[in-house]
Amino acid sequence: MRVIKQRPMNWIERLYIFEAIRGLWTTLKHAARGLFRYETLPTISYPEGQPEIRNTYRAKHRLMLRPDGTPRCVACGMCAAACPAHCIFIEATQSDDPRIEKRVMRFDIDHLTCVFCGLCVEACPVDALRMDTKVISFEHRTREEFVSHLFDLTNWDPKDYPNDPQSQVAPGGTKNAEALKVWGMEVK
């Protein structure tokens, strides 16, 4: 146990009135700043001015794509298992591609329930789920619309992620042709 000993107050401080005046001086300085240097206030006037968001910020989810455009997700349910809010709903089915066994049929994330902890991204064994879309505001008319479905999650543009090679592999990306060549390689 760490005991922090506070310095005892001297008699000027104990009088309170001088300390109160010191505090008044501090707030006066801040008020003057707001009045005369209004534009230096740190507030962003939000809908007009957008905050800068890094790609490590846990924003809305997206599903990564294979070169042929199918979601990389193998429907293992690790994200759903890791999810503390139980907001991920997955249904799997047999894949048509003989090299891939399991394919995701339904992948719903209820963003009203989601707590944006990012554990699903950590849990994903195939790096299919990411939260780097920088989409931080969700406005919809109904509750149902807050549930992101498979189409919504895979409907992203590689041009928005120029520095991410994994995203460029997806259709429309700069590395797609190359990756597609390897991916479509005749097996056996």
Partner: protein, 451 residues
């Protein structure tokens, strides 16, 4: 009939017109609420409420620097459903919020808004007091009235049938009682010096001797603290201490009933700041100039007044131009919208500057009381009296706004006291200081003044 005919008609007009001053505290609410909210924002490095707007053609969304928010809030409160919790005493419940608000209209009656108007009307010397009621008991009447507002809180707490409200009401009443004592005692020194309860007399004493804050600095501090405590504002707002009592005596109130309490509180601040300004800051008197000097140079005084106002408007313009320049450099999507809004302010401000300068120049060069004849009736001395009253009123407003700012400033700086600390401060410290101050003042006044 005799009473009516004993005065000239202009006296009657002015006497009745003075009742308009009853609405000053209510008008102050319009000033205080934005000052409080945006001031609090600035002190906390926020922007404060600034998103509401009125849309007008061409200039687009006019936010009036956040001022529109008050109208929105007021409208909301006004149109909200009035409700009463189950089991309350309906009559008391509905009547309680009206009490502090009604007091608001009564309190301004004894405050001198300007010096006595003395002028010559058709050869008859007319003297009109600056307060609505020129009473000899003056300040005592004011105290009596402002103490009445405690009834509102007590009734509200009792009628709400809620433990929180009840505890809040208990605290309010005990605090009001405690600090009324301090308030009265700390004021006694200045009354002693002025030798009158009449506030006009006190102001004129200050005008001719020295301001109360110089003569009675200790009393000033005690009085200010007691005033803040009496209005029930932070750091003395134990009556509505959110951590323990939700919202004190108005916990169960909503809509305009709450609005009345809210407005009553701000009006109380207004009255008290007028009182402090009157008692300790020379009231309506212009610093360093006596009323007689000012009246002797009425044209110049008015010109200086216009100049000062023009300077303030120019300062505002400078700020607007600076904001516009900074805003243009940003990449905010609404910057052109805001610039267009600012262009309206610029136009208005430039017009105001032009008008003020023109008025100043006119009064400087052309003000000559002897020339003011309307239909062969000399109104020169009346015009001088009105000009004097105008300047007095403006000076008083400036002083009181400054004290209103002190209220807000203190609220957003100091943390709330514990209830026992409040009582300790009131009974054991301020009361003693005020008593000692009174004794010392009396002794010194006896030794020096000899009256």
């Amino acid at each position: 009939m005799d009473i009516i005919e004993s005065r000239t008609w202009i006296e009657w007009v002015i006497t009745i017109a003075k009742f308009a001053f009853c609405f000053v505290p209510v008008l102050y609410i319009l000033l205080l609420i934005p000052m409080e909210r945006r001031g609090a924002g600035f002190m906390q490095d926020r922007q404060g409420p600034n998103r509401s707007y009125i849309k007008i053609p061409y200039f687009g969304k006019i936010r009036l620097l956040g001022y529109v928010q008050n109208f929105c809030d007021g409208t909301k409160l006004f149109f909200k459903e009035m409700f009463a919790p189950a089991g309350v005493n309906k009559f008391l419940y509905y009547v309680a919020p009206a009490i502090p608000f009604a007091i608001v209209f009564l309190s301004p009656c004894v405050i001198p808004w300007f010096g006595p108007m003395v002028f010559d009307w058709g050869g008859k010397a007319v003297r009109i007091s600056g307060s609505i009621i020129d009473s000899e008991v003056g300040v005592l009447l004011l105290f009596g009235l402002s103490s009445l507002s405690a009834y509102g809180a007590v009734l509200a707490g009792w009628a709400s049938k809620s433990k929180y409200s009840f505890l809040g009401a208990l605290r309010t009443s005990s605090m009001t009682v405690s600090y009324e004592v301090c308030l009265g005692l700390s004021m006694m020194g200045i009354l002693l010096l002025a030798g009158s309860f009449n506030l006009t007399d006190i102001v004129s004493w200050q005008e001719h001797h020295v301001w109360g804050i110089v003569a009675q600095p200790v009393a000033f501090f005690c009085f200010l603290i007691a005033c803040i405590a009496e209005t029930g504002r932070a750091p003395f707002d134990v009556a509505e201490g959110e951590p323990e009592l939700v919202a004190g005596y108005h916990t169960e109130y909503g809509a305009m009933q709450f609005g009345l309490f809210y407005m009553g509180e701000y009006s109380h601040i207004c009255i008290n700041s007028f009182l402090v300004a009157t008692l300790f800051l020379g009231g309506y008197s212009v610093p360093f100039i006596t009323t007689e000097t000012m009246q002797a140079h009425m044209g110049g005084s008015l010109a200086i007044l216009c100049g000062v106002l023009a300077f303030l408007v120019l300062a505002f313009l400078h700020m607007i131009y600076r904001y516009s320049r900074k805003l243009k450099a940003t990449n905010l999507t609404h910057r052109f919208e805001v610039l267009r809004e600012y262009s309206l302010y610029k136009i208005c401000a430039w017009v105001a500057v032009a008008v003020l300068i023109a008025l100043g120049v006119c009064s400087w060069f052309f003000y000559n009381p002897e020339n003011f004849v309307v239909n062969g009736f000399a109104v020169g001395s009346f015009a001088t009296a009105v000009g004097t009253a105008l300047i007095h009123l403006l000076v008083l407003v400036v002083k009181s706004v400054m004290f209103c700012w002190v209220w807000i400033w203190v609220r957003w700086t100091l943390p709330r006291f514990r209830y026992d600390h409040v009582m300790h401060l009131g009974w054991k410290i301020i009361l003693n200081i005020a008593l000692i101050n009174l004794v010392v003042t009396a002794v010194v006044a006896k030794l020096v003044g000899g009256n």
